[in-house]
């Protein structure tokens, strides 16, 4: 306990004791009155004096204590962390180059979202402005910070032709190879107040902005000591004349003090405190420090559910530019807004904002802060604002996932105040496609199937998740963990563990095809699709196919393409479930997998993120990437704090087996349960697998191209039948997503690695097809696993030998 508070009770006790004695003395004094006429008066006066002194002393003590307390608050706030700045998360920069599809990259949308403004008037392009010309786009790109590669301001002209960037040149006409665009802010880790601000240093604030603010808010700012009696008197007079409160007498320092330390209530005590603290602030700190604090603190309006504080954020919000790049008229708008940010918002009330802006300009001119010419030019400019780019609530799922990947020191309270700039792997175009595909897909499904209710009759929303990953790097390009973040923050991409169903089967086939198992099968092998019964502690397990039919011996391809359960269960038994578990773990499953025969059919619960890694490993030639969602962060001054460089993917599967598995999964898309992908017009290298669990509780589609893996899961949070298989539930969402991201023609190839042979076989027997074999198809084999049997039976594999000899192989 502080010393002061210990002393208080003793003083109180002493005062009480005094008070207790006082009446007795007075009575005594009255009794002695006749014999002492003059004494009582002098004693009383002396006593009264003592009381006054004591009271004055106590009052002084109390006042000193109160002042010291106020001073402590001022110092603590000014010299500690002055502002809570939520840490902001940025997407990865878009890179443009000659030949890039600028429409798919959404260059036009990027200009709008980033607050770039079209400049129609002739003359040099201002920073953050662009101009469309026939077949060309000229843009003056803003500088941006980045943990790895900051970029300066630069002017670029893009020649555009048939949806592509034909060539790029700088302002001197020199060719430019590659341009990285400023990363888009996605969202922020807000604190309770959901305040957003972008801290500025006074040195970077144009003088016309401070001039505009002081002109209208506190013209004698440089002269007064915190309170301005002249201004107060003037305000009182104006208010008396107006018959109500029309004008405030607060100085900038008082406004700062009010926002910094006090509540907005209008009481005399608060006003006194405000005045005292303003004096203290002025006594302790220089005008520059006070002005800088004010510029960062002042409330400037709202964007959705967040409030904009400070001129830095306001410059971005209203004009899409850094504060240093503001023009005089824009500075005047910011100064105008301060009085009543919502009523004077240039977005919502441009007329009112213009009226007040012109008043600010007149004041600036009248006070000699700008010339008449400057004022006239500024007054002639219309109010032109940047578009409001509202944050997508759905991006919050990604932020939550990112927060979990950040080092532990960056916990939620710190992220809410520290003003970090976190640079993520999110690709804005891919993310928008994911949000749209999932949202519209789920809405369409629900419309078709009707909304379900639970036992209590409450409606149950059909949920889903879509996650896209770069297979070579593990970078998460898009993540939408649910249908509506505002209603449910549960991230179904990373936190939900649901039965994988048939989407698990490729793991079993990879294990069976890999040299580690023998290999148990080749792509020419046939597996018995006959009833099978396995003893388990819970009784006999007898898997069945989706149609309850048994087909006898079926080819490996057909078994997976038709997602037959019995052959997969048989493979699981032949491999040993322990080996299936091992393969799943190697490929990227980290959930605990049960050692049960039904594992081969996907009864284990895994997260969509885990499946994304597994399929990335297939897509990446057997190299398993590490998922990553951020690449680095800067502190609030732009100084690099953390970097997370790209980590190399690890070899966990031989490239040959990865290729054979990929080839099987291509077959699923070309002919099997995933054929809906082709039916939707998507062409090029695509592989994937549907997954529908028993009773259609969970629908999956996991698919990939050479450069992208995407997982779609659809289901209810409280598991229940959906009523459609994954080919009609998850697959259409996946296809819509890929179409938007890649176009109808997917780039790249799934190329055959060395060590995999391409041989013609008889599809009925799996034997090597020689001349005279009636049926034949091409199949792939790991070296040394080419079938020895031939078609026609007994023929010599001389043909292959002949060609080998001919080409010296």
């Amino acid at each position: 306990m502080p010393r002061g508070s210990k002393e208080k009770p003793s003083r109180k006790r002493a005062a009480k004791a005094k008070a207790a004695k006082r009446p007795a003395k007075r009575q005594g004094a009255k009794a002695k009155a006749p014999g002492a006429k003059k004494r009582p008066a002098s004693v009383a006066a002396r006593r009264a004096g003592l009381v006054v002194i004591a009271l004055a002393f106590a009052g002084g003590l109390w006042t000193s204590h109160a002042l010291l307390e106020l001073d402590r608050i001022v110092v603590e706030r000014f010299e500690g962390r002055r502002f809570s700045v939520p840490s902001r998360v940025y997407a990865a920069p878009i890179v443009i180059y000659p030949g890039a599809d600028w429409q798919r990259l959404d260059l036009r949308g990027w200009l709008t979202r980033m607050g770039y403004r079209e400049q129609s008037e002739a003359g040099p392009l201002g920073v953050g402005h662009y101009r469309w010309l026939p077949g060309r786009l000229r843009v003056h790109l803003r500088a941006f910070e980045h943990p790895q590669l900051p970029e300066p301001n630069r002017k670029v002209e893009l020649r555009l032709e048939k949806g592509r960037v034909r060539e790029m040149r700088d302002d001197r006409g020199r060719p430019v190879d590659v341009v990285s665009l400023e990363p888009e802010p996605i969202s922020s880790f807000y604190g309770e107040g959901r305040e957003q601000r972008d801290l500025v240093e006074l040195a970077n604030v144009p003088t016309h902005l401070t001039a505009a603010i002081t002109a209208v808010e506190d013209r004698r700012f440089e002269e007064h000591h915190g309170i301005d009696p002249v201004r107060i008197a003037g305000a009182m007079l104006a208010n008396l004349r107006a018959g109500g409160i029309r004008q405030g007498g607060s100085t900038l320092t008082q406004q700062l003090v009010k926002n910094f330390f006090l509540t907005p209530e209008r009481t005399l005590t608060r006003k006194v405190k405000e005045a005292l603290m303003a004096l203290m602030v002025e006594a302790r700190y220089g005008k520059d420090q006070i002005l800088e604090a004010y510029l960062n603190e002042i409330y400037m309006g709202r964007r959705g559910s967040t409030s904009i504080h400070g001129v830095g954020e306001a410059a971005r919000f209203f004009f899409g530019k850094r504060v240093a790049d503001l023009e005089i008229d824009e500075s005047a708008v910011l100064a105008a807004v301060i009085q009543s940010p919502n009523a004077l918002s240039p977005h919502r009330h441009p007329e009112r904002a213009k009226e007040r802006r012109d008043l600010v300009l007149s004041l600036m001119e009248g006070q000699g802060r700008i010339t008449a010419k400057q004022a006239k030019r500024a007054r002639n400019r219309p109010i032109s604002t940047a578009a409001i780019a509202l944050e997508s609530g759905q991006d919050r799922y990604f932020l939550d996932a990112l927060a979990k990947q950040l080092p532990e020191v960056y916990d939620a309270p710190l992220l809410a105040v520290e003003g970090l700039r976190i640079y993520s792997t999110l690709d804005p175009t891919t993310q928008r496609a994911a949000v749209r595909a999932l949202t519209e897909g789920l809405e369409g499904l629900e419309k078709r199937l009707g909304q379900k209710t639970n036992a209590a009759g409450e409606p149950q929303a059909l949920q889903g998740c879509l996650l896209a990953m770069r297979p070579q790097t593990g970078e998460i390009l898009a993540l939408v963990g649910g249908r509506d973040y505002s209603r449910s923050q549960f991230n179904r991409c990373t936190m939900a563990h649901r039965q994988a169903g048939s989407a698990f089967k490729p793991i079993v086939y990879a294990a069976a095809l890999s040299p580690g198992s023998g290999p148990l099968v080749t792509l020419a092998s046939r597996i018995e699709d006959e009833p099978i019964a396995v003893e388990t502690p819970d009784g006999l397990w007898e898997p069945r196919n989706y149609d309850d039919a048994f087909r006898g011996p079926v080819g490996v391809r057909e078994a997976l393409e038709r997602s037959l359960n019995v052959p997969a269960a048989r493979l699981g038994q032949l491999l040993g479930i322990g080996n299936v578990v091992q393969m799943a773990e190697r490929l990227g499953v980290s959930s605990k997998l049960p050692d049960v025969p039904s594992l081969a059919l996907g009864t284990a619960e895994v997260s969509p993120l885990e499946l994304a890694v597994v399929y990335s490993t297939f897509a990446n030639n057997g190299l398993r990437p590490t998922p990553r969602s951020f690449i680095g962060l800067l502190d609030d001054r732009g100084v690099g704090q953390e970097q997370w460089p790209l980590a190399g993917a690890r070899r966990v599967l031989d490239p040959g087996t990865a290729y054979l598995t990929t080839s099987l999964l291509e077959g699923v898309v070309d002919r099997g349960t995933g054929a809906g992908i082709r039916a939707r017009g998507l062409r090029g290298p695509i592989a994937g697998k549907t997954g529908t669990t028993d009773d259609e509780f969970d629908l999956w589609f996991v698919g990939f191209t050479p450069e992208l893996v995407a997982v779609v899961w659809v289901g209810y949070d409280e598991p229940r039948a959906i009523g459609v298989p994954s080919s009609r539930g998850a697959l259409p969402i996946w296809a819509d997503f890929l179409t938007e991201v890649s176009g109808a023609r997917v780039r790249g190839v799934f190329a055959r690695p060395g060590g995999v042979e391409r041989i013609e076989i008889d599809p009925e027997t799996g034997a090597r097809a020689l001349a005279g074999c009636r049926l034949r198809k091409t199949e792939y084999f790991l070296e040394g696993t080419v079938p020895e049997e031939t078609c026609p039976r007994g023929g010599s594999p001389g043909g292959g030998g002949f060609f080998r000899r001919l080409f010296g192989g």
Partner: protein, 173 residues
């Protein structure tokens, strides 16, 4: 007359072959081998690959100018543009080997090899990088016997480059 004609024909053939081969040989290569460098790979695939390769080239220039952080960033950005560009991973392998992050170098080299292979580019013109870098990784891991054997193979392909057992950024450029 005949020797002169032969000389002229030889000169013309040399010029013609040089033109057909595209980019000139980078410093350090024996004339017998035309290595596939980032620059000489330009124009062989599509626009995305070229955009990515140009970032790799910029990164190699940064590396050569002793700005490794910027180089790393450019390589990573190159992968964003085209994740199947083997040169971006090869440059990363070189970068990490120079920084003695041997495991990372090995992982990126595996990735580069897989991509080269998938694109049908494996052969001496690409092996020259892989062999030497693999040898460097083995050397850093203390597997000298294996490193010696691999460096021998790499030196046979390009004695100038691997004579000092190191790959300079400009050589890959």
């Amino acid at each position: 007359m005949r020797p002169l004609a032969l000389a002229v024909i030889t000169c013309l053939l040399t010029v013609a072959l040089g033109c057909a081969g595209g980019a000139p040989l980078p410093p350090g290569f024996s004339p017998s081998l035309r290595p596939l460098t980032a620059s000489s790979a330009l124009g062989r695939y599509d626009a995305a690959r070229d955009g990515s390769l140009r970032l790799v080239i910029e990164g190699l220039d940064e590396d050569q100018s002793a700005r490794p952080a910027r180089a790393l960033a450019k390589y990573q950005r190159a992968i964003r543009v085209d994740p199947t560009n083997p040169f971006a991973f090869l440059a990363l392998a070189r970068y990490h080997l120079e920084g003695n992050s041997v495991d990372e170098a090995g992982a990126f080299l595996d990735q580069a090899r897989a991509l080269f292979e998938a694109q049908g580019d494996l052969g001496p013109s690409v092996d020259v990088w892989g062999l030497g870098l693999r040898a460097g990784i083995d050397r850093a891991r203390g597997r000298d016997e294996r490193a010696d054997a691999l460096f021998d193979q790499a030196r046979r392909l390009s004695p100038e480059i691997w004579g000092d057992e190191r790959l300079a950024a400009r050589e890959l450029r």
